[in-house]
C-alpha cells in the first residue's frame, strides 16, 4: 500500500493549503450545501467506515434538514434522489460501499440515465450517486466492488474517478454544474491521502485528463486509487532510469481520449492500471480505444494491471495477491521496456 500521508507534488503555491482527500471532499460538499438552498443529501456514510468519518459531522450539524438518513433501502432512496432531482433539487445520493449500488441498479442504470433522453431532451436529472469502491482491506467478496466499468457500459451517466484532494474538490461541483446524472467514485484508501488544494480554484472541467507526471518512456493510464499506486511505482522506476508518463483521465465519461492517444503517440508503450475486474473493465475500454485509434503508435503490446477475474477473498494475503499494487505496475512498466518491439516483426 501507498504511504497515504505523503503529499503529491502538484505545483503547490502560496494560494494552496494542504488537505487530506477526506477534508477536500467535505469542503466541496459544505460549499455546495451553502451555495444552494436546494441542495439535498440522502445518505451520509460518505467518508466510509474509517477513522476520518467524523469529519462529516460538521456538515451534518449545519444542515440537519438537508441531510437525510434513509432506511437500508437503496433502490428506494436512489429513486427518491432521482425524483427530487427531476423536480428541481440538486441531490447527492450516498450509497456508501460501492457494492450497494447493485441494490439500486434499476434506478441508477435504467431510470436516471434514460430520463433525459426519453423525454427528448426536456428533463434534467441533476443527481450524483456517490460510493466508495475497491479493495478496502477485509471487505471480501461482497463489499469490495468497483462497479464503474459496468456503469461505463450504461450510456447517460457521467463517471468521475478522482485520485487527489485537488481533484475531488474541483470535480464534485463540476458534476452538479452539468445537470447530468453522475456517478462519483471515491476509494476509502484515498481518504487519508494529502495534497495541495488551491484556495481560489473553482471547478475542474469534466473530460480533461491530468498528466500527473510527464514522462518519456512508458505511458501509464490509471484512475482513482490506482493513480496513487502508479505514482509510487513511478518513483521507484525513476531511480532505475525509467521515465513514466502518468495520465489520470479523472473522468471516464466524458473521457479525454486525446490525452491518452497523445501520450501513447509519444511513448509508444502503454500500461493501464485499474481496480475494476479485468474482463470488460476500465482497462479493457482504454486498451480497445488505443487499439482502434493508435495501433500504429504502439511499439509493444499493451499491458493491463487489474484485479483478476476472481471474487475478492477475505484473507489479507489473498486480497493483496489480486491488488494492482505499485510493484505490479512497476513490473509491467519494466516489461514494456524490455519487450521486443512489434515494429521489428
Amino acid at each position: 500500500m501507498v504511504d497515504a500521508t505523503k503529499t503529491q507534488p502538484s505545483n503547490p503555491s502560496s494560494d494552496t493549503r494542504e488537505l487530506s482527500y477526506a477534508e477536500a471532499l467535505v469542503e466541496a460538499i459544505a460549499e455546495l450545501m451553502k451555495q444552494d438552498p436546494e441542495f439535498l443529501i440522502i445518505g451520509s456514510y460518505i467518508l466510509g467506515l474509517g477513522p476520518l468519518r467524523g469529519l462529516f459531522d460538521k456538515v451534518r450539524d449545519e444542515h440537519p434538514n438537508r441531510i437525510l438518513d434513509p432506511p437500508t433501502a437503496e433502490v428506494g432512496f436512489a429513486g427518491f434522489g432521482i425524483g427530487a432531482a427531476m423536480n428541481g433539487l440538486k441531490v447527492l445520493v450516498d450509497l456508501s460501499t460501492a457494492s450497494f449500488v447493485f441494490e439500486a441498479f434499476p434506478q441508477v442504470v435504467n431510470e436516471a440515465p434514460n430520463a433525459r433522453y426519453m423525454s427528448g431532451g426536456r428533463l434534467a436529472v441533476p443527481v450524483v450517486f456517490h460510493f466508495l469502491h475497491g479493495l478496502r482491506g477485509g471487505g471480501a467478496a461482497q463489499h469490495s466492488h468497483s462497479p464503474q466499468a459496468m456503469l461505463w457500459n450504461t450510456p447517460g451517466l457521467q463517471i468521475i474517478v478522482p485520485s487527489s484532494p485537488a481533484d475531488v474538490k474541483g470535480l464534485l461541483p463540476a458534476a452538479f454544474a452539468t445537470g447530468n446524472p453522475t456517478i462519483f467514485v471515491d476509494h476509502s484508501k484515498l481518504m487519508p491521502v494529502r495534497g495541495p488544494v488551491s484556495n481560489s480554484a473553482k471547478e475542474i472541467p469534466l473530460g480533461v485528463a491530468d498528466i500527473k507526471r510527464p514522462g518519456r518512456d512508458v505511458t501509464v493510464v490509471a484512475t482513482s486509487y490506482s493513480v496513487q499506486q502508479a505514482f509510487a511505482a513511478c518513483e521507484s522506476l525513476e531511480a532505475e532510469g525509467i521515465d513514466v508518463e502518468l495520465v489520470d483521465p479523472r473522468t471516464l465519461v466524458p473521457l479525454d481520449r486525446q490525452a491518452i492517444l497523445d501520450s501513447v503517440a509519444k511513448t509508444g508503450r502503454l500500461v493501464i492500471a485499474d481496480e475494476t475486474h479485468r474482463s470488460c473493465g476500465v482497462a479493457s475500454e482504454i486498451a480497445a480505444i488505443v487499439s482502434e485509434e493508435a495501433l500504429g503508435s504502439l511499439k509493444v503490446p499493451i499491458i493491463r494491471v487489474t484485479v483478476p477475474d476472481v471474487p475478492i477473498p477475505f484473507s489479507p494475503v489473498l486480497e493483496s495477491e489480486l491488488d494492482p499494487t505499485a510493484s505490479k505496475i512497476a513490473d509491467a512498466v519494466r516489461m514494456q521496456m524490455t519487450r521486443k518491439q512489434v515494429g521489428a516483426r
Binding site: 434538514n65 428506494g76 425524483g83 426519453m118 447517460g156
Partner: protein, 343 residues
C-alpha cells in the same frame, strides 16, 4: 355517483374519458394494420380512474405514470396527434420519437417521466414529492402504478420512506386484476400477491389507505380529493387503490379490439354488444357507467353525447392523420439528448 363538480367540468370529464377511449380503440386498429410499434398497453376500462383523479389536482402538481400512461397524457392535455406520432416514432412526437408508447412523457404538462419498469416510478414520484417538501412548496405529486407494482420490493421501500419522511405524495394504485384471465389466456398472470388487500402493505408501514370502485368516477374523484388535500396540508402520503376489472381487450399480451369499438347504444342496451363483451359493457365499464349517470342526471342529453362522440372521432382521425403524415426523425438525432450541454 357523479363527481361533485360543476356541469362544465362534468362535461369536460366525459370529453376526456371519451377521447381516451376512442383514441385507444383507434390505436389498436393502427397496431393491427402495422407496422408494429412494439409492445404497448392501453387505458381502455380505466378512464374513470385517471381522468377524475387528474381533476383533483392543480396544474402545477406532478403525475408520474407507468407503461399504461396514455390516459394520463391525454388527460393532462397532451396533443392527441403528437402522442400518436410519438407512438409511431415520428419526429413530431411528444418526445421526438425517443420515448414511444412505453416512455412518452410531457414535462411541460407536469408529467416529467414515465417508467415502464414495474415498480420503477414509485420511488421517483415520492422523491419528486420530497423535493416539494424541501422547497417548502405545496405542490402534490401522484405516483400512478398497477397492482403488479405491489409485488416489487422497490414499491415497498418507497412506501416506507414516504411514510417516514411524510412526503406529499398520493400512491394511486390501479388494480385491474379482477377477473384477469392470467397466463392461461396468453397474458401476464394476474396479480401475484399473497396480500388479501393491497392496502395492508401500505398500512404495514404506516401509510393511510383508501379504496374505491374504479368504475365510479365520483368515488375516485372524492377519494383523490381527500388524499390530495392530506398531502397538500403536510399530512403525508396516502395509498389509494382503485379497483376495476380488466378490459377483455387488455387481457392478452397484445391488446385486441374484440367486437370492435364501443357503441354508444350500449349505454342503454349492453345486450347489443358482442357476446364476449356483454357482461363487461353492462357491469364493468366505468365509462358507460359514467355516461349513464350523466344522462340520468340530465347533465347532457343523448344528442349532446352523440355530437361529442362524433367530434372526438374526428379529432382522433386528425390525430392519426397528423401522426401518419409526420416524417421520421433524422437518423442522426439518435445521438442527441443523451447529456445536457453535450450531444
Amino acid at each position: 355517483m357523479l363527481p361533485e363538480l360543476k356541469q362544465a367540468d362534468l362535461i369536460e370529464l366525459l370529453n376526456k374519458m371519451l377521447l381516451v377511449r376512442r383514441w385507444e380503440e383507434r390505436l389498436i386498429r393502427l397496431a393491427a394494420e402495422g407496422p408494429s410499434f412494439g409492445h404497448y398497453h392501453v387505458y381502455v376500462g380505466q378512464e374513470t380512474i385517471g381522468i377524475p383523479a387528474l381533476f383533483a389536482l392543480r396544474p402545477t402538481d406532478l403525475v408520474f405514470p407507468t407503461h399504461r400512461n396514455h390516459g394520463y397524457l391525454l388527460g393532462r392535455g397532451a396533443d392527441p396527434g403528437r402522442l400518436m406520432a410519438e407512438i409511431l416514432g415520428k419526429e413530431s412526437g411528444l418526445n421526438q420519437g425517443k420515448a414511444g408508447t412505453l416512455h412518452a412523457s410531457a414535462p411541460e404538462l407536469g408529467i416529467p417521466h414515465t417508467s415502464a419498469i414495474v415498480g420503477g416510478i414509485v420511488p421517483i414520484a415520492a422523491g419528486a414529492a420530497l423535493a416539494a417538501q424541501v422547497k417548502g412548496s405545496d405542490q402534490v405529486t401522484v405516483a400512478v402504478f398497477g397492482d403488479g407494482a405491489m409485488e416489487e420490493g422497490a414499491t415497498f421501500e418507497a412506501l416506507n420512506i414516504a411514510s417516514l419522511w411524510k412526503v406529499p405524495v398520493v400512491f394511486l394504485c390501479e388494480n385491474n386484476t379482477d377477473e384477469a384471465l392470467g397466463a392461461a389466456a396468453g397474458g401476464y398472470p394476474k396479480s401475484v400477491t399473497a396480500a388479501r388487500d393491497l392496502g395492508d402493505i401500505a398500512r404495514a408501514v404506516g401509510v393511510p389507505t383508501l379504496v374505491v370502485d374504479g368504475t365510479d368516477a365520483g368515488g375516485v374523484h372524492s377519494a383523490m380529493n381527500e388524499a390530495v388535500s392530506r398531502a397538500r396540508n403536510s399530512g403525508g402520503p396516502t395509498f389509494l387503490e382503485a379497483r376495476v376489472s380488466r378490459w377483455p381487450g387488455s387481457n392478452p399480451l397484445w391488446p385486441e379490439l374484440p367486437g370492435g369499438e364501443m357503441e354508444l347504444r350500449y349505454v342503454e342496451e349492453p345486450e347489443a354488444a358482442p357476446e364476449q363483451l356483454r357482461r363487461w359493457y353492462s357491469e364493468k365499464d366505468g365509462l358507460l357507467r359514467y355516461l349513464r349517470e350523466i344522462l340520468s342526471h340530465g347533465v347532457m342529453g343523448k344528442n349532446d353525447v352523440e355530437e361529442l362522440d362524433a367530434k372526438i372521432h374526428a379529432q382522433v382521425e386528425d390525430a392519426v392523420r397528423f401522426a401518419a403524415d409526420s416524417p421520421y426523425p433524422p437518423p442522426g438525432s439518435a445521438y442527441l439528448d443523451v447529456f445536457a450541454g453535450r450531444s
